[in-house]
């Protein structure tokens, strides 16, 4: 398995620059290597884009199967431990993430996503008829440069796999925390290179390198690299810094940002049962709420007493689910959390909580409006990034009030740095549910899901409002008939 941040390049030599970062040796591709890769990448993607889509998907699917074999045989145990240590998540969570990799790399799943993104998959290989005498072809937009700055394994795989499937040469810059695990996944592409021409082309179409934020190579790549698209996953200040460099780039690459978002849960009194509580607890515990879909704020539509009963059940479930996934909290974080709970109680909220440092969950019920912003004013460090297993539910009377909570979230101090609500987990029934779904359509959210699995994606659904696979291509339109009818002038 790979170690450190050694760049991953197949089929050619790549020059590496070594530097020190916080006492760790970091290796990144040299500027000369990057220019060579980009130049060769254009011809690789030209070849790859002529290969049948099914062949491309078969290679990715085999990588997924190989990964599963290695996982089942225990060969990835060290990698799991390493990701757990680097990311700060418990081992059980890291193991779950490793076991989800084959689903992301599943050929049939990717095929469904492509089907949802393009009118006709034939257009990814050749011109395909869209109307009498009119044809479209979907060409790779690349070379694609993906900056995936999160600390988990799955998010960097999603755009990279779609980028490869659509025929792009793809340079991926993972984060320091997940570098090793991501490299383990793509090293399998290299292992399969000798099995077919398509596999060889795909191995040549992928490269991984870490770049420090002040890397001259990174600056050169963004401001002068012959790129077709830069896909940035993350928030400020890097998003703007990267964006400014891209604006200087004479090749004008597209800039596709998947910014920081969060999840919101809406539960109505009629749906507030033990099953919803159990599923919600799971969503709160997974990744300690650091996914863009993790429920970090909620609304309960119904009576105060009903909300209290639901909170008690949810608390019991959090105690159960949370004890399976141990969390890590330092003394400063505990001090802040305890102080925040107190501020919320003083402000009139009902607080349910655990004092077990391995599972310090907190549930807050507030009447009509959130009390969290005041607490965050006193403790700015209690921002979204440091809130773990913490959910405030505002108890309201009507769906309209719940929708107002969703819409207002992005303006709130407690959610500074978050672009918007990505996912709404909905547990509602009857006309109330219809009103909520209709209202959510215009509230700016991207996903409405059952509470049960807010963290899961359907293979057909778009990413943050965009069909990502389509965004990784550009469409050529060809016509051999005039638009104007014969005789017209």
């Amino acid at each position: 398995m790979s170690s450190g941040t050694n760049p991953l390049v197949f089929g050619r030599h790549a020059e590496v620059v070594k530097k020190q970062l916080d006492g760790h040796e970091v290796s990144e591709l040299s500027e000369a290597s990057v220019w060579e890769l980009l130049a060769e990448g254009r011809s690789v993607q030209l070849e790859l884009s002529k290969r049948p889509v099914e062949e491309r998907l078969e290679v990715i699917d085999r990588v997924g199967r190989l990964w599963k074999e290695r996982l089942d045989s225990g060969k990835l145990d060290g990698s799991i431990d390493s990701l757990s240590r680097a990311a700060g998540y418990g081992r059980k969570l890291s193991l779950m993430e490793f076991s989800l990799v084959p689903f992301v790399l599943n050929g049939a799943n990717i095929r469904r996503n492509l089907d949802a993104s393009f009118p006709n998959l034939e257009g990814l290989v050749r011109f395909s008829r869209v109307a009498p005498g009119e044809y479209c072809r979907y060409m790779p937009v690349g070379p694609v440069f993906i900056i995936s700055s999160g600390n988990s394994l799955i998010p960097p795989l999603i755009p990279t796999v779609l980028s490869l499937a659509t025929g792009n040469f793809t340079l991926l810059r993972p984060s320091m925390a997940n570098y090793s695990a991501v490299a383990d996944v793509f090293s399998l592409v290299g292992e399969l290179a000798g099995t077919s021409d398509t596999a060889r082309l795909m191995s040549q179409a992928i490269a991984l390198s870490y770049f420090t934020h002040d890397s001259p190579t990174l600056r050169a790549l963004l401001s002068r690299g012959d790129l077709g698209l830069v896909n940035f996953w993350g928030g400020e200040p890097a998003r703007t810094t990267v964006g400014k460099l891209i604006l200087e780039n004479p090749f004008h690459p597209r800039y596709l940002v998947n910014g920081p978002m969060t999840g919101f849960v809406v539960v109505d009194g009629a749906s507030a049962d033990g099953t919803v509580a159990q599923k919600l607890a799971t969503n709160i515990v997974l990744y300690d709420q650091q996914l863009c879909s993790s429920p970090t704020q909620g609304a309960f539509i119904g009576r105060w007493e009903a909300a209290k009963a639901f909170a008690e059940t949810l608390g019991e479930e959090l105690a159960k689910v949370g004890s399976d996934y141990e969390m890590k909290m330092g003394e400063g974080a505990i001090f802040t959390l305890q102080s925040v709970r107190r501020i919320l109680r003083f402000g009139g909220s009902e607080v349910y909580s655990s004092d077990d440092p391995r599972n310090m969950w907190t549930l807050v019920l507030s009447k009509k409006s959130s009390g969290l912003d005041d607490a965050v004013s006193s403790f700015p460090s209690f921002n979204l990034y440091n809130r773990k297993r913490f959910l405030e539910m505002v108890v309201v009377d009507t769906p309209a009030e719940a929708l107002a909570q969703v819409e207002g979230l992005r303006f709130r101090k407690a959610f500074g740095g978050v672009d918007r609500v990505q996912t709404v987990g909905l547990a509602a029934k009857g006309p109330q549910k219809d009103e909520l779904v209709e209202g959510l359509a215009s509230s700016g959210v991207y996903r409405v899901t059952p509470v049960a699995d807010m963290y899961m994606r359907s293979s057909a659904e778009p990413f943050d409002g965009v069909n990502l696979a389509a965004a990784l291509t550009y469409t050529i339109h060809s016509r051999d008939v005039p638009v104007l009818p014969e005789g017209a002038s």
């Binding site: 700055s149 934020h213 200040p237 890097a238 003394e331 400063g332 501020i343 109680r345 006193s378």
Partner: protein, 420 residues
Amino acid sequence: MDAQAIFQAAEKSKLLGDPYVSKVWETVNDPSLFERSPDYLMELRKGLFRESLQFFARHSRHYAELFERLSIAPSDAELGDLAKLAVPSDILRGEGQKPLLIDDVEPGGEYFKSSGTSGKEPVKVYRSPLDLAVMIKANTDLFEYVYGRHLEEGKGVALFMAAPELRYRLSFVAFVQLALERKDIELIYGMDLLEGAENGVPWQKLEPNRDRILKFLKSGEEPKLFFTAPAGVYLMAKQFDEMGLFKKLGYRLASGAPPVRLGRGGLVVTGGGTKGFSDLPPYPDIVELSAKHFVAGGRNEARSPAPFMDVLGMTETLTALIDRYGAMDKVPHPLSEVFLLDPKTFKPVREEGKQGIVGIFNPFTTSWLEVFYPGDLMVAKRSSRYYGREFSFVRRLTTDEGWDLQRACGGSMEEMMRGK
């Protein structure tokens, strides 16, 4: 306002018409308070706690609602309930104290702010004239108890390594000036506050005023009281320690020091924390180094290292905890309830020697319910003195302001997260 004006305003306070406030005022002025037993004082504090909750419920809707919400019945509250009522000092930053003031808070008082060396917005606390009078009286009594003698009126001189402008900003400076003013003891400020602007950004800095420091050093008055941050006495002692023979002789010719002779009853009083100095040695080392260069004792007495007292005061507490190095650990005023909270559960810590987050309740503050915790870890030990317990400062809790966890989907690029 000077000390006299404060007492005049306090005596006219309308709040003294409230039975609780008049009782508190009388109790604070009880000359036998420091001679009482720990059990007597604990019962006294329990009674005052209950009465104070009733007072605040009468004078503030906020508190009436809060007690109800926390299921605390003022008439049979226990001191253990303080653990539920204590507010984190951080909520007093900026205008945070405003909603906590009673509805009929008395005007004409003063605001004090923390020094701001933590890099956060300062804690800001309002003190009514009555609060200020209690502050002077209670702190002077506590100071004299720990000092082991009374400050005699009109006798002695004090040097405070602070600038006079800080009298109206920092409560420690205000308490020292007002207490000495009341005792008619001369106070010399050893620093000047310099202000300026660079590129449109205003700055302030403190610089020693050599002439005024010399005035103190050369004064024949005794006792000499030297008030300073630990860094002040350390830097001065270090300077003396590193002086060559000729420089030392020259300095002695000009000032009479080193050593600094503080005379009979002379004393070094430290307070105010590290003031941004990150490389200070531990307090015992500072005292040991300084002992060579600061001496006490009258003209016909054997000279000995000057005693050291340390004041743990915060903007948000009306009275301090004071220790005398080598003689007693920190003791609070007899009416202050000092309690420790478990750092993980925030439940009361009762065991001797176990670290806890210190909380303080001052029943004699009547503008707001003064029960808070600043985020300092302390330990308590049994004591034969009036309070029954003495406290030692362990350290301030550090709260990580950084992004200690990157988000799963993406945070920022790692190195850019630092310093957020």
